[in-house]
Symmetry: C3
Subunit: 200 residues, 3 copies
C-alpha cells in the first residue's frame, strides 16, 4: 500500500515533467508549461472519476498529488536541458507510467462496481487521456492518433488484468504481469516501428 | 418503450459507424478509428448527463450500448468501402439520429426536473456534441461551425417539442412531429445549401 | 449580496458578447457565434463546479444566467460593428471580469471545503477556462498559451485573496484588493507587453 502510494506520487511527478517539457519548442511561457504539466498529470484520472461519479477527485482530496505536480513543473523549469537530454529515460518512465496507471485505473473502476468491459476502458483512459487533453488544448493531433501502438497497449494490459483477476490470480502478481504486458507491447512496437493496420 | 430502446441502440450503432469512418482519410489506425467511433456515439449523452449530474452514465449502466458501439466499429473495420459507398444512406441515418436523440435528450432533461429552456439546450447537446468532441480531438473545425444548418435544426426541434408538450399534445405524436421538424429542416438546408446569415 | 449577484449577471453578459464576437472573422454563422458566446460565458464556472461536484450548475439552477447570455449574444448579433469598435472598452470589461470571477471562484471553492491551494486553481479556472474551451473548440491556440500574462494574473490574485483571507482581512475589502491585483497585473502586462520567461 505504501509502495503503491509512493509510486502514484512518483508517476504523477514524472507525468508533470513530461507534460511541461512537451510544449517546450513552442511559444509557451513558463505558466503555459506549468499548466500543461498539470493537465497531463491529472487529466486521465480526472476524466475517469468524473465519468464514474467518484468524488472528491484524487488530486483535490489529497494535496500531495498537487505538490508532486508542482515539483515536477519546477524541475522542468530549472533543468529543462538536462531533463530533455534524458529523453530516453523519460520515454521509459512514461512507458512504466502508462502501464502502472492502466492497472490502477482498472482496479479503481472495479472497486466502484462497474462491469469489467467498462473497467478496461477506464484503465486505458486513466493512462492516456491526460496526454490527449493536453494535445487537444495545445492544438496538436493527440498522441493516441499519432503514435505507434500506445493506447491499444494499455487496453490489452487492462484486458489481461481483468482476465487473470477473473481466474483468481494473486493481485500483486497480476499487477506485475499486466503492467509488463503494457510495457512490453509498447517497447516492442516502438523498437520495431509496429503499428496497427489502417482503415482502407 | 421496447421500440424506443431498440431505436436507441440502433442510433448508437449508426453513430459509431459514422464516427469510425469519419477519420478514414487521415493517418489513423484501427484503434484511432474505434476510439473516434466510441467518442462520437457516447459524447453527446455523456456531456448532457454530466452537466445534469445524472449517474450512472447510460453506457456505463447498460452494457448493451457498449456492444452496439463495438458492433458499429467492427462493421466499419470489415466493410469500410461498402459502408462509405452508403454515404447517402448514412447521411439519412445521421439525420434521423440527430432528430431522435434531440427529442430523447429533451425528455431526459425534463424528467430530471430542469426548466424547459435548459432542456432545449440539453436536447441539442445530446444530438450534436459527440460529433463536436470528435472533431475537436481530431483537430477539425467542429461540424457545428461548418455545416449548413445542423445544430440549429436540433434546437428548433427541441423548442417545438417543448411547445407541443406544454400544449398537452400526446407524447408519441409529439415525438414524431418534433423529430420530423429536425429532419425536414436539415434535409431542406442541405438540398438547397441554406445557411444562417453570418455576423458582419 | 444583491450587488454581487447583479455583477455576476453583468459579467456573464459581457463574456457572452466577447465570446460571440471573438469568432467574427471566421466562417461561422449566427448559430456558431451564439454557441461560442454561450461556451465562453459558462465554461469556466461549469468546469469548476464539475471538478468540485457542486450541483446544480449555476446556469442550470438559475435561469437568469441563461437570459444574460442570450441578451449578450443578441447584442452581438444586432450591433456587431458598434461593439467591435468598443474593443478597448471590452478589453477593460474582460479584465474586470476575470478579476471578479477569479475571486468569486476562490470563494465558492473555499465554501465547498477544499484546501486553499485547490481554491486558487479553481479561482483561476473560473476566470479563464471558458475562453480556453472556446478556443479549443474553434481550433485556436488557447488564450492561455498566447497572451501576455493572463491566467497567471488570475492565479496571483487568487493567492493574494487567500493570504489576506488567512490574515483575517474584511471580506469586501479583500475582494476589492485582490480583484485590483488581477486587473493591475493584466493592464500593466498589456501596456508594457510584459510576458513570463519561456523555457529554453
Amino acid at each position: 500500500m505504501t509502495l503503491q502510494y509512493a509510486l502514484e506520487l512518483v508517476g504523477t511527478f514524472v507525468f508533470a515533467i513530461s507534460g511541461a517539457l512537451a510544449i517546450r519548442e513552442r511559444e509557451h511561457d513558463l505558466f503555459g508549461a506549468g499548466f500543461t504539466g498539470f493537465i497531463t498529470a491529472i487529466g486521465g484520472g480526472t476524466l475517469r472519476d468524473i465519468l464514474l461519479d467518484s468524488y472528491p477527485l484524487v488530486w483535490i482530496g489529497d494535496i500531495y498529488f498537487l505538490y508532486a505536480i508542482l515539483l515536477g513543473v519546477l524541475a522542468a523549469f530549472i533543468f529543462p536541458n538536462f531533463l530533455s537530454q534524458l529523453r530516453k529515460t523519460f520515454f521509459l518512465f512514461d512507458t512504466l507510467g502508462i502501464g502502472f496507471f492502466t492497472v490502477l485505473g482498472v482496479e479503481k473502476a472495479l472497486s466502484l462496481g462497474v462491469r469489467p468491459e467498462i473497467a478496461a476502458i477506464m484503465g486505458m483512459f486513466s493512462a492516456v487521456m491526460g496526454g490527449v487533453i493536453r494535445d487537444t488544448l495545445t492544438n496538436e493531433i493527440p498522441i493516441l492518433f499519432r503514435k505507434e501502438i500506445y493506447a491499444s497497449a494499455c487496453l490489452a494490459g487492462a484486458i489481461l488484468y481483468l482476465l487473470l483477476n477473473y481466474l483468481g490470480l494473486d493481485r500483486d502478481l497480476n499487477l506485475l504481469i499486466s503492467m509488463s504486458m503494457v510495457i512490453s507491447i509498447r517497447l516492442v512496437a516502438v523498437k520495431y516501428k509496429l503499428s496497427l493496420p489502417r482503415l482502407d
